[in-house]
């Protein structure tokens, strides 16, 4: 790989923009395709497919065997609520290679003693979230149980097209949340994207078990093929 290509890959990744390196495995010839240039590329169908799946792989095109190496941004996890579940969820997500940030305006909750080594923002969502560059490669979890904090955060997550959005609360709580969000202009399709009750149903009871259920659900959303991905 040319040093310029490698440096360019690193720049794109630092900016959280997906990039694909196409290598002719017969001779090592390489080129880099940025996400924004895929639509105009001769291999656009193949490139778009691999990027959507987030998977690298070999293809054959014009008699050549090409390796498409997909570099998708590192997944982020934004946790709204510095609660007991979050104390278990943050380190678990970090061990799964997520960049984790915890947001909670309540300073009694958002204390470094409760969250050693985790980036912690003790601000309301309207202040905390814009600088975080929440994007499609972000999983977003709202677990404060307080509508004043969770609701505006969820509206932000809809806007940024997070790949996973989850919110704590029973079906009843969630139905009320749906009504509130609708009143604030949220679309039905957005509300339908919220995973609630949050986490895979594994009978989780303790905060740590709930954290496992949440990360399992996020992993499934990230990795399983999408039913409607044509």
């Amino acid at each position: 790989m040319k040093l310029e290509t490698l440096a360019e890959v690193n720049v794109e990744r630092a900016a959280r923009r997906p990039v694909i390196v196409v290598t002719d495995t017969a001779n090592g010839e390489q080129r880099l395709v940025k996400a924004k240039d895929i639509a105009a590329d001769p291999l656009r169908a193949e490139l778009a497919k691999q990027l959507r799946m987030g998977k690298s792989g070999m293809i054959e095109a014009a008699g050549k065997k090409l390796f498409l190496n997909v570099y998708a941004p590192t997944a982020k996890l934004v946790i709204i609520g510095a609660v007991h579940i979050s104390q278990a969820l943050a380190p678990l997500a970090r061990s799964l290679d997520y960049d984790v940030t915890v947001v909670d305006p309540r300073t009694a909750f958002a204390s470094p003693e409760r969250f050693p080594d985790v980036p912690l923002i003790a601000e309301w969502p309207d202040v905390a979230l814009p600088p975080l560059n929440v994007d499609h490669y972000t999983a977003f979890v709202a677990v404060t149980h307080d509508p004043k904090i969770d609701d505006p955060a969820l509206l932000h997550a809809f806007e940024r097209d997070c790949f996973y959005i989850g919110a704590l609360g029973s079906r009843k709580t969630h139905a009320k949340r749906g009504e509130r969000l609708r009143a604030q202009g949220a679309k039905e399709a957005d509300i339908a994207r919220i995973h609630a009750p949050i986490g895979l149903d594994i009978g989780a009871v303790s905060p740590s078990e709930i954290a496992v259920a949440i990360m399992a659900e996020i992993t499934a959303q990230l990795r399983l093929p999408k039913e409607n991905a044509a």
Binding site: L6, N10, N27, G28, M58, F67
Partner: protein, 109 residues
């Protein structure tokens, strides 16, 4: 904490800029039960220092040896490891899969 791909590629760039010979080994194809998916990579410098992985530790030693050749020659190489391969008994994948690993020098013109 595991080494992420971005750390691996950053190390490749940093090592090369620091004057090291550097090679990048990338899993390009897998069959059967393979330990790491296509796109997984390992970066090696001319000290034999490496970061990342292309398997669960089964074939890294062999990949590093081949990578040192690639750093010396500048010619990319395709390596294959698996139970179907006679070298399997030496450095094969105990999980029963087959992988192909593309090894290339970083900084070739």
């Amino acid at each position: 904490m595991l080494n992420r791909d971005e750390d691996i590629l950053k190390a490749a760039e940093d090592w090369q800029k620091a004057g090291h010979g550097v090679a990048l080994a990338t899993v390009v194809e897998t069959w059967g039960s393979a330990p790491r998916p296509a796109g997984s990579s390992l970066v090696i410098n001319d000290d034999g220092t490496f970061l990342g992985s292309v398997s669960g530790g089964c074939v890294e030693g062999a990949v590093v040896t081949e990578a040192l050749d690639v750093i010396a020659s500048g010619q990319p190489k395709m390596l294959e490891f698996g139970v179907a391969d006679e070298t399997a008994w030496n450095v094969g994948l105990s999980c029963g899969g087959t992988i192909r690993v593309f090894v290339e020098k970083v900084g070739q013109s």
